[in-house]
Symmetry: C2
Subunit: 289 residues, 2 copies
Amino acid sequence: MLDYKLLEALATVMESGGFERAGELLGLSQSAISQRIKALEVRLGQPVLVRHPHLAATPAGQRLLNHYQQVCLLERELGKTLPTLEVATPRLRIALNADSLVTWWASVVSDFCQNEDVLLDLVVEDQDVGLKRLRDGDVAACLCASDQPIAGARCVPLGQMTYHPMATPAYIERYFPDGPTEAAFRRAPAIVYGPHDQLQHRFLAQCGYHGHFPYHLCPESEGFVRLACAGMGYGMMPMMQVPGPVARGELTSLAPGHALEVPLYWHFWRHSGALLERLTSTLRTVQLT
Amino acid sequence: MLDYKLLEALATVMESGGFERAGELLGLSQSAISQRIKALEVRLGQPVLVRHPHLAATPAGQRLLNHYQQVCLLERELGKTLPTLEVATPRLRIALNADSLVTWWASVVSDFCQNEDVLLDLVVEDQDVGLKRLRDGDVAACLCASDQPIAGARCVPLGQMTYHPMATPAYIERYFPDGPTEAAFRRAPAIVYGPHDQLQHRFLAQCGYHGHFPYHLCPESEGFVRLACAGMGYGMMPMMQVPGPVARGELTSLAPGHALEVPLYWHFWRHSGALLERLTSTLRTVQLT
């Protein structure tokens, strides 16, 4: 049997961001925490965390943390039948795409979290990395655009989000006076989320343009919208992310006929317990547009 | 002299997210791109990129990319005096904190980018990692809360952002009926940005509470706000990030007397040229509240 005091020390260090604070939270000295981490590393024969460039769990450490979380979830189910146990609230670690997080996610899961007394540990990742985290046991579930199945996991389709090429009217007047033409695409700055974001490229291909185009890189979903609202570029956005700017006429589509559908899938471990099953039922109720 | 065709291939692969697309953009075959990357690695004696878990530059590759960017910036200055050269628009790589990106950043730099014909490559990082990227030559500038100077770089104070503990009125009524008490903090879920985010901890310490508290982890600035607006928790936010929810009465402070000031500093290489000097002058005009 593992010594769960050691795992608890590791989890507390990672969550609180340091040995000193973990000691405070657990009522232990900083050196007692260090000893527990060291004992875990001796037992495992390899490091469980690195301190540089910043505190992070090693892949082995992350697997331990995930196992620790699963045990906490089981304790929680036990605690429901034995309330006098007073078990701690577990945190559910989930990888998801940024656009879901800044649009529908919170309103759909809020009641679930409050009624079930669940805390979330959200990890924002593009789909390839999110699915890899699920495969590695680093997260309990993953919300992404890929329907690629993971052995041992279930994959539930949740619908699709519709992306439109949005910009300010002034921007469109300046860069697209004749509509979405090749000449305009060649010089109008776009906004791209990151090297893995192909939505702008797909939109351009849909318009028949396959050449070079200038773009800003902005790996933050809301920052992306702010750049567009400030007139710095155009970018593909789900309409549900920008109801305010659209209603106020700050953002509009530069090619109203063109939109892209991005499907969303929910992947989770098949035998991860009743809690994730209930969260899945909740997510199935989402109405995407 | 370096062979800049090789560096251009590396930069295009990283920006476009793949060898095939880089080939299309540069009018080369995929294998020609591979050969250029390989030639660069032979010259350097080490890899410049890794393909798993996803395409990323190695530390050595990032230094090459940064050097390539600096050369592009110099070419741009040259192009202003010799317009017939027709040099490409450079991309300025900047690390910044998420809260600035989703609030004032775009409105302050928008005119600068349009007038100077500059594209941005934004990297969202907490301050320790952002400063390390600057030290490593991976970014040209860094906006963060640390005034820790970097040798060879200038550090300009831009003011400070004020953070308030915000939640929905219903949440406050449910969890804080008697105000910010120890009993309430022990069971009211907070929202924390990540393991390095100590704002909630500092707020609790300011209220005289130093114990354990439950919290969701949400590493996305706008997702953080959405969780709070959905009634899932309270969290420290700059007032300028939530003018809408505050005006509509959706979010309010749970402890109006308590706020935290977070300073902002702009770090950039001293000899990085006139463009960064002009961007710095622009940033100095920001009015933070």
